[in-house]
Symmetry: C2
């Protein structure tokens, strides 16, 4: 029989261990890990996948180091309509640029952006947008860029909800990320958006450390600031367009492992899901269908939904998903709640 003081010291040790060692939350969490999901095939697919890959007795058990789950961002983990958030940032930043480079006020496509004429801005071509992206996403130090994005995110608001863009994340997907991490999965963002842009907020918004963000990658140059300290400057060179076939390429480059689970919502994610499905054992491929105009947006053109150039989900992709056993998530039917503020 131990003395009381010995018992107390063990209790202190237990508490210390519990506090400091990031014990999997599932060991203590109560109830449903996916409370914002309605009961149904989509929710069931997630739970079944986790059990099939983490139960030691399962024939499709996956060792912890191979537990990789990848999430597209725009339209999969946060709102992408009416326009990608990063594009809004770049358009907003043209005005900042014009303060130090007033000649932009007379040069297209900057002139149009600065005019504030929404109809004209909506007519900008893809080439115009690339010109704007190159101008607003390069030429500054990586530290200045990070600070600028941080300031913008802290104040810019989505016109429909009048809320910060980082508030417009999908609560059900945040729950999936946490549920996977609680079961030993490493979660990654794999986005067509800029890697540097998303890294600014991935940790606070998704609980995903910045090194786990794979995105469209630009080059940097190495030089020196006035005080002689080394500085990395963002250059307008493209290393990898992390979209479509670029997603498996980016995953191979940055992670080096084939995902076990992949989440997307558009034709930009097709190859990522296909690559994920190409491995053996249990795999989970999911696509969010935006079919909820009331609570969010409705677009496809799959299933007769309105067509869009932002997050296109074609009927061909829908049919391929059904044929291959990829799960289509109906925002309207599968999600009990979309945003945390609801």
């Amino acid at each position: 029989m131990q003395s009381t003081s010995s018992y107390r010291s063990i209790r202190v040790l237990v508490i210390t261990l519990l506090a400091g060692l990031s014990v999997p939350a599932r060991a203590f969490a109560q109830g449903d890990p996916l409370p914002s999901w309605n009961e149904g095939a989509a929710k069931q697919a997630i739970v079944s996948f986790v059990k099939a890959t983490t139960d030691q007795s399962s024939p499709t058990f996956v060792p912890p180091e191979a537990r990789v789950a990848t999430f597209d961002q725009d339209g999969t983990t946060w709102v992408e309509h009416p326009i990608y958030t990063q594009i809004v940032y770049c358009l907003d930043r043209v005005a900042v640029l014009a303060q130090t480079r007033p000649e932009l006020k007379r040069i297209e496509p900057f002139k149009t952006v600065l005019s504030g004429d929404r109809a004209a801005i909506a007519r900008l071509t893809k080439k115009d947008l690339l010109t704007i992206l190159a101008a607003t996403l390069s030429g500054m130090s990586v530290g200045d860029f990070k600070a600028d994005v941080g300031r913008w995110l802290a104040s810019a608001k989505h016109p429909r909800w009048n809320r910060l863009y980082t508030e417009l994340t999908y609560q059900p997907m945040l729950e999936v990320m946490r549920y996977l991490r609680d079961n030993g999965y490493k979660t990654y963002i794999v986005t067509g958006g800029g890697q540097d842009f998303v890294r600014v907020f991935s940790d606070t918004v998704y609980g995903i450390p910045l090194e786990n963000v794979v995105g469209t990658m630009g080059g940097t140059s190495y030089g020196y600031a006035k005080d002689g300290k080394p500085v990395l400057t963002k250059e307008p060179t493209l290393l990898l367009n992390d979209d479509k076939a670029g997603k498996p390429q980016g995953i191979y480059l940055m992670i080096g492992r084939r995902p076990r689970a992949a989440f997307g919502n558009s034709i930009g994610d097709r190859e990522m899901l296909e690559y994920t499905a190409g491995g053996d054992g249990a795999r989970l491929m999911m696509l969010v269908l935006h079919d909820d105009a009331q609570r969010e947006y409705a677009y496809g053109p799959a299933q007769g939904l309105p067509d869009t150039k932002v997050g296109t989900f074609t009927q061909a992709l829908y049919d391929e998903a059904k044929k291959k056993g990829w799960t289509v998530i109906s925002m309207k039917n599968d999600w009990k709640r979309i945003f945390s503020f609801e």
Copy 2:
């Protein structure tokens, strides 16, 4: 006062937690974490740095997520003389290539490599080597490449020691990696060598998971095998040359955080150390000087050591290190043991 059964259940919980949750080994390790290092300034610099950045009461304490340590590979964590290991692999692979592409036997520089004439091979130009690298490191699926490198590493031996190349790692550096990891650091390889090449063995040789390998990066293409499954094929396109200024660029791209500690041995590592030193708080910059011809090799040309093109350590780099407080490790004086098999 608790009952005995309650005490027992707590004890079981403690044991379970200790067993399952990868408690830092330092909490239980006994004695010297760096037994292959002689007492001296180099060893002291490592121990002091770890204490300064992991002791909660230290003014230079670093939170766990920011604990990043980067290691060059060739000449820093394993033998690089008389020639880089990956070059030996590529030269060996020319013969394999020639089996399916017999025309190479008549085309330079492949003809010279296949001749086996060591003197002629040693005279190959840098351009010749790049031709050989492009031919032997691309054109196959990433899976086939990984398997081929694995087979080669399991049999190819260094001529001087007649041992596998993976046995020719420096025991003192393996101890530093472990010591840093035991103190919450993430360890990375940051090498001018091929990222895909080093990822094949980083886990088993260094305990570094493949996603923590930053190296020279080549492009891939996404396509389909005969069975319709997706395949990534290695292409002869260069995304990033992870050498000199390319090292901080590669670190920013792949890790996104400035290292707190960086280890190198040549002019190829200068910018990585400079970038590491450019941050605030406690930083550790170390360079291995190969001054031990008896146990390994001696080359510089710093400090009057013989000049070399493989792992050049100039006098200017030596002087810069001394001036800036970067620690030069003398292989001869600081390392009690170089290889684990000694």
